[in-house]
């Protein structure tokens, strides 16, 4: 397995398209603020039917302290759905593994975009305190 750090999230959409062309599969991990960065590049996955699995940790969604995180956090799920992605929202730890497995199956068997959103309700909220 390769783990590659990116400078911006949409690089991952393109990288995983290239990996699929070469016979490999992968998963793109990001925070919800990165969803907006991906929007135009998701056309690549959609128009070519590349399978794309994304796991998104949520900010600005539940009990967020930093108001700058809220605008993108509040529209991340709807934005993904508008691109045609299948979205599974997970807010219980026990639902995370089945959610990822279900998203992986639907993405890789159908050449679809699937995203698992991990809620701040279970991840906890960054409180900006030492």
């Amino acid at each position: 397995m390769h783990a590659v750090s990116l400078t911006t999230e949409e690089e991952g959409v393109a990288m995983l398209a290239g990996a699929w062309l070469g016979g490999e599969r992968g998963v793109l991990l990001m925070q919800s603020s990165g969803v907006g960065n991906c929007i135009n590049t998701l056309a690549l996955a959609k128009v070519c039917s590349f399978p794309l699995l994304m796991i998104v940790t949520m900010r600005g969604e539940w009990g967020e302290v930093n108001p700058w995180q809220v605008p993108m956090g509040q529209i991340a799920a709807d934005s993904l759905r508008l691109t045609g992605a299948i979205v599974h929202e997970v807010d219980e730890p026990d639902a995370a593994a089945p959610g990822v497995e279900a998203a992986a199956r639907i993405a890789f068997s159908g050449g679809l975009i699937a995203a698992v959103l991990l809620s701040q309700r279970m991840l906890g909220t960054k409180l900006f305190k030492d």
Binding site: E11, G18, W20, G22, G23, T41, S49
Partner: protein, 195 residues
Amino acid sequence: MPEPQLERRKVVARILADRGDMLVVTGLGSPTYDCAAAGDHTLNFYLWGAMGSAVTVGLGLALAQPRRRVLVITGDGEMLMGLGALATVAAVKPDNLAVAVIDNERYGETGMQQTHTGAGVDLAAIARAAGFRETATVRQTGELEDVVPILRRAKGPALVVLKVSPARDPLVLPPWDGPLLKTRFRQALLGAAAA
């Protein structure tokens, strides 16, 4: 600086001549047409959108196929939109990945507006500073033969900027059916069972 005399179609045709089993990713706009004009090939993956993504598609392919040469052929505008990808590639250092930037210092798809390379931004220097192993900039026809081996064989990551004339060429359009481009590429590379 005088206008470059290199002709983009001849440059791309030379880079792709006798390409062997090389895998090619093209950036949207003129580089996609240039590669089609050099001869359509099942191991060309043409981008028609997703501007800024050519290098990272190439990176994913290079990591998945470490024994095959992967060449990204893109334009200056497309490369400028994805500059962060040069840092990502330099951090990963795939030795089988090369990038050819066909640089006419213009946005050809939208009316030939000047790009930042026309204002002096040096893409080869940016790639070198990021950590690419091989970089070069070519302005003269006589220098082209020196850089073809860098793109085709040198240990990467490599990036070569080819300063070309802004003259427009006739459109040569490859297929833009995404599933067709994807599936024919995978079948040519991975075998008929790959879909």
